[in-house]
Symmetry: C2
Subunit: 228 residues, 2 copies
C-alpha cells in the first residue's frame, strides 16, 4: 500500500516536470520570457506587478496569469491597467502546477508578447515544489512579515533567482532588519539578485525593471546559442 | 490507478480525524483548552502569543506547540517568556496534522495546564483541511496583508471560531478597510468573534484574553454536561 502511494507521488511530480519543460519550450519558441512570482498572501505581489508593468511600458509587452484559490480580484486589477490576463482558480489547491499553466496559456496569444508573469497562489511553502516552466522564479518578502522568513521558509527562497523586499516605505515602523534578510538570502542563494522596493511609491522599481529586461535578453541569447 | 489514489487520500484524512478526536479527548480529560492559531507567514502569530500570555498571567497556565518548516526561532521566543514549549519541525510539510500534535504532546505535562496553544505553520491554505483536535481555531490577518484576504482564502476563515485582525497600529499607513474584512467574515462565518489588536502596543489584547477565558469556561461546562 505504502509503495503504491510513493510511486503515484513520484509519477505526479515527474508529469509536472515534463509539462513544465513543454511550457518552457513553448515560451522559448515564441521569444516570451516567463517569470513565476511567489510569496505569502498579502506580501504585495499584485501591487508590485502594477508598478512593474508601468515601468516596462514601451519596452516589454507583457501578459499575466493570476493564480488564486477563489475569485478574480487580482485579475481585475491587472486588466484595469490594460495588461492581458488569464485567471486560474485552483478551487482550494495551494499552488499552481505546470498543467494549470498549460491550460491557461491556451487562452493567451504569444504573438507580440515579450513577457509572461505568473502570479502564484499566496503560499510560501507549497509553491516551492512545482516548476511551472518559467525562466525565472522571483520571491517576494514584505518588511511587515518580519526578517526571520528566509530562515523559516528556506525552500522557496533557495530556489529563487531574485528576492524582492517589498513595502520598504513601512520599514521604519517595523523591527525588520534588511541586513539580516540580505545575509540570510546570500547564504541560501548566493546567485540571487536582491531588490528593495516600495511598489506604492515607486522606489526601486526602475532598477528591478532594468534587471528584468537584462535577464530576458540574456536568456534569449542563451537559448539561441543552445539551438545552434 | 486513479481509484487507488483517491482511496489513499480518503484514508489519510480519516486517520487524521480519528487522531484529532483522540487528541481532543486527551485535552478534555485533563481540562486543557486547545487553540489552533493559523495565518500567513509573518501575520504576527508569535508576537500575538507573547502579548496574550502576558495578559493571561495568573489566570490561565499555558503551553505552546510551535509548528515550523525548519528551525526553532518561535519556540525560543516563547521559552524566553517562561511558557513551556515544544517545537515541531515539519521538514518541508506545509501544515501540522493530528499525528504531529499527538507526538508533540507526549513531551508536555497536562497536569497543572489550562491552555494549549498550537501555532500552526504560516499558511493560509493547507492548514484549513486538518483538524488537530483543538477546541477553537483562530485565524489571524494582519492589516499589511490587505483587506481582500477573507474573500481570496475563504476556507481558512470559514472554519475558524475567531478572526483576529493584527498590526492595527499600522492601519493608517495602509489602504486596509477594517469594515470590509468584518463584513466578509460575518458573511462567511457569522458565529465567529472578531477582534482588532496591536500586539506590539497591547491594544485589544485584554478583550481577547477575556474572550479566551470565557470560551474555555463554556467548553469545560459543555463537556461536563456531555459526560453526565
Amino acid at each position: 500500500m505504502r509503495a503504491v502511494k510513493i510511486v503515484a507521488a513520484k509519477k505526479l511530480l515527474k508529469a509536472n516536470d515534463q509539462l513544465a519543460e513543454e511550457n518552457r519550450a513553448k515560451l522559448d519558441a515564441s521569444g516570451v520570457f516567463g517569470v513565476n512570482v511567489v510569496g505569502s498572501p498579502g506580501c504585495g505581489k499584485t501591487t508590485l506587478l502594477e508598478a512593474l508593468f508601468a515601468a516596462l511600458r514601451g519596452r516589454l509587452r507583457g501578459a499575466v496569469i493570476e493564480g488564486d484559490i477563489a475569485g478574480s480580484i487580482d485579475a481585475e486589477r491587472i486588466e484595469a491597467i490594460g495588461i492581458p490576463v488569464v485567471q486560474i482558480n485552483t478551487d482550494g489547491a495551494c499552488h499552481l502546477d505546470a498543467a494549470m499553466i498549460a491550460a491557461a496559456t491556451q487562452g493567451l496569444d504569444y504573438q507580440g508578447l515579450d513577457l509572461l508573469v505568473v502570479e502564484n497562489v499566496g503560499n510560501l511553502v507549497c509553491t516551492a515544489g512545482f516548476d511551472l516552466g518559467e525562466h525565472l522564479r522571483v520571491a517576494i518578502l514584505s518588511v511587515t512579515e518580519g526578517d526571520d522568513k528566509v530562515v523559516k521558509y528556506p525552500a522557496i527562497f533557495q530556489g529563487s533567482d531574485a528576492l524582492i523586499v517589498t513595502k520598504m516605505d513601512l520599514v521604519a515602523m517595523t523591527n525588520f532588519k534588511v541586513d539580516r534578510v540580505v545575509a540570510d538570502m546570500q547564504r541560501l542563494a548566493p546567485e540571487a539578485a536582491i531588490f528593495q522596493v516600495s511598489a506604492l511609491h515607486g522606489d526601486g522599481i526602475p532598477a528591478l525593471a532594468e534587471w528584468l529586461v537584462g535577464r530576458r535578453k540574456m536568456t534569449n541569447v542563451e537559448s539561441q546559442i543552445t539551438k545552434e
